[in-house]
Amino acid sequence: MPTILMPALSPTMEEGKLAKWLKNVGDAVKPGDIIAEIETDKATMEVEAVDEGPLTSILIPAGTEGVKVNTPIAVIGEADAAAPPPAHAPGTLPYEATDSHTKPHAELQATVAAVKAAQPAPADPDIPAGTEMVQMTVREAIRAAMSEEMRRDPDVFLMGEEVGQYQGAYKISQGMLEEFGDKRVIDTPITEHGFTGIAVGAAFAGLKPIVEFMTFNFAMQAIDHIINSAAKTLYMSGGQMGCPIVFRGANGAAARVAAQHSQDYAAWYAQIPGLKVVMPYTAADAKGLMKAAIRDPNPVVFLENEILYGKSFDVPKLDDWVVPIGKARIARPGNDCTIVSFGIGMTYAHAAADKLADEGIDCEVIDLRSIRPLDLETVLASVRKTNRCVCVEEGYPRFSVTSELAAEIMTHAFDYLDAPVARVAGKDVPMPYAANLEKLALPNVDEVVAAVKGVVYAN
């Protein structure tokens, strides 16, 4: 008797809402019939039957939220002698993913969640005392930041593939077409080179475009305009022709999308004078940095992460929450060792710091937030205090952000170091597809723990 499981509808989907049943118990179902609708944080999708027979039982009632992928949701076919599993009340199901191989990042995603739960946000000196905090996903934070800036400045507009009618490939721009209209939320053809050039030209003329790349992997088609046109023209024009533009989109590894869709561009863009590069981890930083990026008169590369889009963080409830570009944040104070990271690398850093704390090693975790300009002062002040440093990133290890950090720390804090700076990064290979290989290619918490133990000589 075929059981219908909650389907995974995107590479990073972990759970979804069973929005609606389109068939009732007892209805005849044929392959291809649409039997239910499922809402993910990205889209509403239809579930098709692949088996034939009467719908014997519905295991998850309509309206149930947080249904994990691979949870049985219905049974099709003649009743077996054995009774079907009983229907559960919403929210009381023993959800469990049955096939962990479909979600190699599941461990990391669990880490992301665990870190969030374990981590009360440290007091941020930039947030006025007593400020109310609201829970917001990174996705909502980016959307709120863009919308606030578009309300504030009519010269700001959003363009990219599927940003309008489709409501955003990752739902970042959901609802923005309705609010701002198609003059300011512009669907482009799938031609990155061309539309990026058009956006840069519009910025030369004084408009303030936000260019969404569905992922930064596709921005390689447009990299000539990001670097040669946007970043260099101010200098080549003797200061006349600035380019106020934001290039944003998902960056780095998602899950099981392999080599061409899994690359971290932080180091690539951070090499270029004339560009600013930011890579937030929390929703608060995503919102504040996005607003700063849109207001910045220079080209800003804003690197997001698909896995973080759905994660919730506290965001200050302020009318105008702007995080300055070029300022790192001490995410966790400590004394024994400095861990420096940024973007999704912060999940490994935080989880490692939690584990190490249990063993009596007190780590200070720094979230760079901006890659260029790099807030070396904050990093160096911490290293001069702890005398040890581990740098963490998901990107390739060679000629990377962490190798730059190691060089700068050696140059400016050599006499303070009690151990060589250690680095944990992605492996020096194209991202593999197979679940086990992908896991090996990415950094992990244990590597960070081992690196910290190495520099504090605790092994």
């Binding site: 539309f195 058009i198 519009a202 003329a205 305009h225 046109s229 101010l234 200098y235 003797g238 008169p297």
Partner: protein, 349 residues
């Protein structure tokens, strides 16, 4: 070929190859327009000759691409421009800057890499800009200026003004993929941009017949995107101006982009370091003798008695004076201050 014939049927003029100026059915210029065209083209010619000379003396470095032979294109186009229209082009940009009214001394001083250069000596021959004169470069990457130019048009449309962006590119750039990505978007979004293809028959050292399919019907490529196009005798400034009038009117009335394929010719090599061995001296000589854009105007002015030899000599002397002054400035102005190395990388937020 169907596309080509449709394209040719719509254009106003016959292809210039082998055609004499007198064969072309152009509306006449007023005396004032003839004199203006003569003056503006002559300034570019003399300026470029001087730049070539300074390059030979080692006073200009790097790449230097001269516009000699193609003067009628930009001068005719600018005669149809109104205040606020933008111009953007490739690295063969000196003529466009002069036609936009940028100071000859500032342009020449940029070529010599001096403090008083348009880009403070930091851009050089290929990278100059003037916000004041709506000149948006000066781009060194072949084809990049085409989407950028459409972006300027996007801004015009966004702001609801009547301005038009003129995006110039050569027959070489016409093979770049981003050109067609731009044609597509300019057409669906009805952007007020004129794509001015300067077909000078050589992409660096490669004859367009060797590198380009249907190399004398580049405008016809707009057909696939629903963009109207004309092939124009780019050696005759009157034909250029007349086509530019139609194109600007089309764009200003909200009808979207327009393509003008200017059949033209460069007399010099691709850059100063190009001996141009890929074509015969006779070919160049024939173009100079039969179709030179400046000589055409000069002959008309004299024949129609709109100007005497003395009148033209007076203009020549004025032009030589401007170019000499520009050259003197460019060779005596100091090098940029070393502190300039670190300025203009970011706008202070």
């Amino acid at each position: 070929m169907a596309v080509k014939s449709a394209y040719l049927a719509r254009k106003g003029d016959k292809p210039p190859k082998g055609a004499k100026a007198s064969d072309l059915k152009n509306s006449g210029f007023s005396a004032k327009e003839e004199i203006q065209a003569y003056r503006d083209m002559l300034l570019i010619r003399r300026f470029e000759e001087k730049a070539g000379q300074l390059y030979g003396m080692g006073l200009i470095g790097g790449f230097c691409h001269l516009y000699i032979g193609q003067e009628a294109v930009v001068v005719g186009m600018q005669m149809a421009a109104i205040e606020g229209d933008q111009v953007i082009t490739s690295y063969r940009d000196h003529g466009h800057m002069l036609a936009c009214g940028m100071d000859a001394g500032g342009v020449m001083a940029e070529l010599t890499g001096r403090k008083g250069g348009i880009s403070k000596g930091k851009g050089g021959s290929m990278h100059m800009f003037s916000r004041e004169k709506n000149f948006y470069g000066g781009h060194g990457i072949v084809g990049a200026q085409v989407p950028l130019g459409a972006g300027l048009a996007f801004a015009n449309k966004y702001r609801g003004n009547k301005n038009v962006s003129m995006a110039y590119f050569g027959d070489g750039a016409a093979n770049q993929g981003q050109v067609y990505e731009t044609f597509n978007m300019a057409s669906i979004w009805k952007l007020p941009v004129i794509f001015v293809i300067e077909n000078n028959r050589y992409a660096m050292g490669t004859a367009s017949t060797r590198s380009t399919a249907a190399s004398e019907a580049l405008g016809a490529r707009g057909e696939a995107f629903g963009i109207p196009a004309e092939q124009v005798d780019g050696m005759d400034v009157r034909a250029v101006k007349e086509a530019a009038d139609r194109a600007t009117e089309h764009c200003r009335s909200g009808e979207g982009p327009y393509i003008l394929e200017m059949m033209t010719y460069r007399y010099r090599g691709h850059s100063m370091s190009d001996p141009a061995k890929y074509r015969t001296k006779e070919e160049v000589q024939k173009m100079r003798e039969e179709q030179d854009p400046i000589e055409q105007v000069k002959a008309r002015l004299l024949k129609s008695n709109r100007a005497s030899e003395d009148d033209l000599k007076k203009i020549d002397a004025e032009i030589r004076d401007i170019v000499t002054k520009a050259s003197d400035f460019a060779t005596n102005d100091p090098l940029p201050d070393e502190s300039e190395l670190w300025t203009d990388i970011y706008v202070n937020a």
